[in-house]
């Protein structure tokens, strides 16, 4: 199985699409996006 840092890609996505988010709000967005993988 490939070792890939998907979490880092999620951080990049949030940086790119939600540049105004900072601190806790940014972290919560990352967590919500990661959690959405469960239902795929």
């Amino acid at each position: 199985m490939r070792e890939r840092d998907i979490y880092k890609l999620v951080e990049r996505y949030v940086e790119e699409y939600f540049p105004d988010l900072e601190g806790e709000a940014r972290q919560q967005r990352i967590e919500a996006l990661c959690a959405s993988f469960m239902n795929v």
Binding site: M1, L9, Y13, A32, C34, F37, V40
Partner: protein
């Protein structure tokens, strides 16, 4: 399409009927729910696959399954799950269309080994992204990282695109004046997420016995995220917020108290304090959990009873919770209208007096053989005339 004045009047009357009922008062008559789910698709002669990304057809199909059946409310879930097609394209087959293309199926998945609990507990979201997502979504294993990033971005953006195009509930509301009772959203218990998506049925049930501390720590690691999904309000009293409880029926009293109850209680109370109510689908029987439920606020719950005895529940919770129940799917499948009416009458006679009762099938209908349209119509017409206060 906007509502005509006549439809608007019908819609408002129906909303009022649900609000009155949920506050444990007697409305003019017992509200009748549509729980026909994806049975609607075969009723119109289509398959699940026919509706993929065909949003106009989807709306037509679901409107047709509500027309002329005397329904006061719906619980369609907003139509089909359009995301499944994309998930399959990405290599994940957790959900997939049945071989005959008629219904959606779910395969049990376990994406975490028992010895990985500590890693999950330390940072559940990093683990979900770097382990679970890669294992489930084979497209994420591609060597081209940029390609993976673009697919991931599409995966994140697609739900909003689909929501914008989906008009099922809007069409049912605007054309028939029927409200979606669970339109307030969905809340999922963290242990149901672990059960459904992380460890699967068999492994979670094993973990409860062999490594309960690890499982509990994993649930607790998800709690801060799950608590953020509980609305803070203020919210309108209607529509309600919902959840289908998957693992709860397998947890005997003490285990329910340990693994399920803390978040369940927080979410029911949170929703209630925000101004609305929790439409709680008790999968299986919850009789073994009744001692816990008695601590919840009066009128905070609308309880969909699947296998619970209506008489026992009413005796215990009359004056506390609203009951949502109807004839069993096996009776409906028999196609015997008189037998169905008899069962419906028995339930109405028990549950309706004093208010706080919604008539609705205990399970959603899926396959074409689950029900005959004329039988449903005949039962609903009987309830419309019989269940009057």
């Amino acid at each position: 399409m906007r509502m005509t004045e006549d439809i608007k009047k019908l819609y408002n009357e129906r909303v009022e009927r649900f609000i009155t009922t949920s506050n444990l008062k007697e409305p003019d008559r017992v509200p009748i729910m549509n729980s026909t789910s994806v049975w609607a698709i075969s009723y119109s002669g289509y398959t699940y696959a026919d509706l993929y990304e065909n949003f106009d057809l989807e709306a037509e199909v679901f409107v047709k399954a509500h027309e002329g059946f005397f329904y006061d409310g719906t619980r369609t879930g907003g139509g089909i799950n359009h995301m499944v097609k994309f998930h399959n394209q990405l290599g994940s087959f957790q959900n997939f269309i049945s071989p005959n293309a008629v219904t959606l199926q779910h395969s049990e998945t376990s994406s975490m080994e028992a010895d990985e609990y500590d890693e999950f507990i330390a940072d559940p979201f990093r683990f979900i992204a770097n382990k679970i997502a890669i294992r489930k979504i084979t497209a994420f294993q591609d060597e081209d990282e940029e390609k993976v990033y673009q697919l991931m971005a599409e995966l994140f953006q697609k739900p909003a695109e689909i929501r914008a195009k989906t008009t099922v509930n809007e069409a049912i509301k605007n054309r028939l004046g029927i409200p979606a009772i669970s339109g307030g959203g969905n809340i999922v218990n963290p242990i149901d997420q672990i059960f459904d998506y992380v460890r699967g049925f068999k492994n979670t049930m094993t973990d409860i016995r062999r490594r309960p501390e690890k499982l509990l720590a994993a649930v607790e690691a998800m709690i801060p995220y799950a608590e953020r999904n509980i609305p803070k309000g203020p919210l309108p009293e209607f529509p309600w917020i919902t959840d289908n409880h998957h693992i709860a029926k397998f947890l005997t009293g003490e285990l329910f108290g340990k693994f399920y109850w803390p978040y369940y209680k927080t979410s029911v109370e949170g929703v209630f304090n925000a101004g609305t109510k929790f439409l709680s689908h008790f999968e299986g029987s919850w009789e073994q959990h009744y001692d816990y439920l008695q601590d919840l606020p009066k009128t905070s719950l609308i309880c969909i009873l699947e296998d619970d005895e209506v008489e026992v529940f009413k005796k215990r919770f009359a004056g506390q919770f609203c009951i949502y129940a109807g004839i069993h799917s096996s009776t409906l499948r028999s196609g015997d209208i008189e037998k169905c009416k008899e069962e419906a009458k028995r339930i109405i006679d028990i549950a309706a007096p004093g208010g706080g009762y919604i008539y609705g099938l205990r399970n959603g209908l899926l396959a074409p053989g689950d029900a005959d349209a004329e039988v449903i119509r005949a039962i609903n017409q009987f309830i419309l005339e019989y269940a009057v206060y």
